[in-house]
Amino acid sequence: MAQKIITGNQAVAYAVKLARTQVISAFPITPQTTVVETLAEMWAQGEYTGEFVSVESENSALAYCIGAAYAGARAFTATSSHGLAYMHELLHWASGARLPLVMANANRALGAPWCIESDQIDSLAQRDTGWIQFYCSSVQEILDTVIFAFRLAEEVRLPVMVCYDGFYLSHTYEAAAIPEQPQVDSFLPAPARKPAFDIDNPENRHGLVSAEAMARLLNVRYRATEMAGEKYELLDQEFYRAFGRSYEAVEYFGPKQAGTLFLTAGGMAQTIKSFLTVPGREEALLRVKQFRPFPSAGVRDILSCSHVERVIVADRNVCMGVGGIFAQEVRAALYGLPHPPQVIELNLAGGVDLTPEMLEKALAAAPGYAADEKIMWAVELL
């Protein structure tokens, strides 16, 4: 396995190539653009031998992948922010059609006004579209998760979105091990080279259905989504056997009996981990990797321990009128517990940088938070 210093975007490109993707549709948007540019370069150099098509919009980019998946091909595209929003209709379509697509999303804020800072609102606003969602915290994890995503997608027949911080991860160079093709093939078999339909047994797919039929389809899809969560661990073990690395859906980092936990996803987890490795720190971190299906059981198991007094959820996103989205999901997971920990939201929406200083301030302010005061706005702590 070769070690390279690459950006998050480049990591995506390597993974997509190694996954023997057959059809890639490309449309640029900051900060994802170098994903498709790297793939274009690989295509131009003959390293990537599938189809690479520059389309005219993100709506068409995902539509293109949907078409390719209809044919039974392995397809991929990358986007961010407004591009993701523009393909909203198609996100629903892809999961309803049970297509095993993989998409990389470099998290970025949505206007108005224009803002290219890292904000998770773009992918989180799509949390209801039925896609499996992962949030990566390092360049290596991005590369590994994209490969993992193709396998999981084809296992459960649902599309998978691999999310990572715009700029903080998309453009930051880190060292990453690039797997060999045989390693990848042992985990992710090559796609079958035959159409997904039968000329002699034609079918009319995805036509209009009744309420009852729709309800049954949704029910089945719901169960499949749950199983994506259930199968994660087994697949992760397989991944470990193939690559020597493993990632938990919910990762606990820090002292076992910590009374105060941070909870976050994405690049902020790296910051918090560095913060927590300073000797003397007593807090711990819960890093959520799989956001959909939300690992309620895993989160609940940890947060229901009696020693946990409070959890500070670091959200780089805000749902207007409600608060941080990770925090909401955590609160829902904790519902029904006799003595739930206090959930304090540290909200960095807009792309506010999470620094050790800010973490100190947040910890200092946390005990003084009354039960009904929910949100600690990071920008006010600056």
């Binding site: 339909f197 079918e203 009319n204 797919r205 389809l217 089945v220 899809r221 499949a224």
Partner: protein
């Protein structure tokens, strides 16, 4: 359905898929009007004196099915080669194709079917099948087209037919009067050969009334068909008619065609306006005479067919209208001059008014009088009365053709012979279905609806002039009022509710009643109507 991706155990997978053909949904109950195939009479058939089923055999020709075309046409008219030569083609005058470009060349096509027929038929080999029923014997008096037609049908039905003809040759007016250039005698010979091969016996030179009586025929034969024609030749009724140099036009023509001697003449005047007059004028002209045809009324009033008049003019016959002979003047014991007078304009059926003081004379060596012909029933004895519909007052004795109606045309005569045979078959309780189906055509209903051009939809045809190739020419037929399987209804149905098989049945389980088929049918055969079905009442 085989899964397109790697199978994974137990993950539920379901998408919206339609695999059942939508035929389960019977959309026929949407309908409040139902298409119905209702055939009407083509104008050509209506106009034809024998109501020839033209569209039916033209359709066969379009397919290149000459045998089928013969099969159909011979039900109506056993002598298409002959009529193709001499009939005036009334059908073409009414052909709806005239409204687009030109009439279909029906007469030529009919002629070609007849010609084809003779390439298939070898006389003497009895290639026409007979139907095996105990042979009944029928006598036919007269071998003109009426008698010949009657003989054909009755012979097909297995009868023993004998035709008695007073002239030495068979054919009636066909042999005696119609000129060679209009009807080559070979054509007539071929028709007669066909009849002989079928077993029809011709006894020529036998005159009923002189050589054998009608009563004798009645006792020897199970039925008798009288088709002796209109043989009494009317006189001009003017002075000098007994002079040598005056002949009846019909006698003149018969003499020419029977090879008897005919007076040579340099100047000939033909008096009359009918086909006999024209025929005589042309024949005389062809023999080198200067010919004048004098008719007492105008050209428009002439009973002769316009085609014949023009042909005569082209041949050099001089026409004088509104003149009639007043007296025939002899010179040296034979005809030398004719005194003519002019007449006022009059219509046929009215009297003719002579203009006083308008007389003039013309040189004339031979005057051919074509003053008309009438039936002469004398041969039948005094008891015979002719009734409607080929019946007579004598049981087992039927009559048809010019004998009943006075001079008519060949098609009318053939029709009369055919209907006479039909009446005789009914009288003798014969089985009328032959080897190839019914021998007679369906009885023509006078009150049936004749289709007009407005009911057709000829758009798909486009303008196209006549073609030399018979299949192509036949393809120009619009099949007015008759379904010819063009399948335009099938072609334009959005609901695929017309079966693509031979009968083009409507699939009423699915037809929504949009009406496109009826509107687009080129032949005007389809109509939309409220059918008596419960589902349609739902929409009231």
């Amino acid at each position: 359905m085989p899964l397109p991706y790697r199978e994974s155990s137990g993950v539920p997978y379901k998408i919206s898929v339609g695999t059942l053909p939508v035929q389960l949904n019977k959309t026929g109950d949407w309908r409040f009007l139902t298409p119905v195939r209702r055939e009407k009479v083509s104008p050509c058939t209506a106009q034809c004196p024998l109501h020839n089923g033209i569209a039916e055999w033209v359709e066969k020709l379009t397919d290149g099915d000459w045998a089928g075309a013969w099969q159909v046409v011979s039900r109506y008219n056993p002598f298409p080669h002959l009529t193709g030569h001499v009939c005036y083609r009334f059908c073409q005058e009414k052909c709806n194709r005239l409204h687009l470009d030109e009439a279909v060349a029906i007469g030529d096509l009919e002629k070609q079917i007849g010609a084809w027929r003779y390439n298939q038929f070898t006389p003497g080999k009895g290639s026409i099948k007979k139907i095996g029923s105990p042979p009944l014997k029928v006598a036919i008096v007269g071998s003109g087209p009426a008698g010949l037609a009657c003989a054909y049908y009755l012979s097909l039905l297995g009868s023993e037919v004998v035709i008695l003809e007073r002239e030495p040759v068979a054919g009636g007016m066909l042999a005696l009067c119609i000129p060679e250039y209009r009807l080559p005698r070979l054509v007539l010979e071929q028709e007669l050969a066909m009849l002989r091969a079928m077993g029809v016996v011709f006894r020529c030179g036998v005159e009923v009334g002189r050589d054998i009586s009608l009563e004798a025929l009645q006792s020897e034969y199970q039925a008798v068909f009288l088709a002796a024609g209109a043989t009494r030749l009317k006189q001009l009724g003017i002075d000098g008619e007994e002079l040598p140099g005056i002949m009846n036009a019909v006698d003149y023509l018969a003499a020419v065609h029977l090879g008897r001697s005919v007076p040579a003449a340099g100047s000939v005047i033909v008096v009359g306006g009918g086909n006999a007059a024209i025929d005589a004028a042309c024949v005389a002209r062809l023999r080198g005479a200067r010919v004048v045809l004098a008719y007492r009324r105008t050209r428009e009033a002439m009973p002769a067919h316009e085609d014949e008049i023009r042909a005569a003019e082209a041949a050099g016959v001089q026409f004088l209208f509104q003149v009639q002979p007043d007296a025939l003047l002899g010179s040296g014991g034979r005809l030398g001059k004719v005194r003519m007078v002019r007449t006022e304009v009059s219509k046929r059926g009215e009297g003719v008014t002579v203009i006083p003081g308008s007389s003039f004379t013309l040189e004339c060596e031979l005057l051919l009088a074509a003053a008309g012909q009438e039936p002469d029933l004398g041969f039948a004895g005094s008891n015979l009365k002719i009734l409607d519909g080929c019946m007579t007052n004598l049981p087992g004795v039927f009559a048809g053709g010019d004998l009943c109606t006075g001079p008519g045309n060949v098609a009318e005569a053939i029709s009369a012979g055919r209907e006479g045979a039909r009446a005789i078959a009914a009288y003798l309780e014969m089985e009328t279905a032959g080897v190839d189906g019914q021998v007679f055509p369906p009885v023509y209903k006078e009150e049936a609806q004749v289709i007009s051009y407005q009911h057709l939809n000829p758009f798909l045809f486009g303008r196209q002039g006549r073609s030399e190739r018979p299949e192509q020419e036949a393809g120009r037929c619009l099949s007015c009022g008759r379904c010819n399987g063009c399948a335009v209804c099938w072609m334009f149905c959005p609901d695929l509710a017309v079966d693509s098989g031979a009968d083009l049945d409507f699939l009423l389980d699915y037809c929504k009643g949009c009406g496109i088929c009826a509107k687009e049918c080129p032949s005007g055969v389809l109509e939309m109507e409220v059918a008596d079905s419960g589902t349609e009442n739902n929409h009231r």
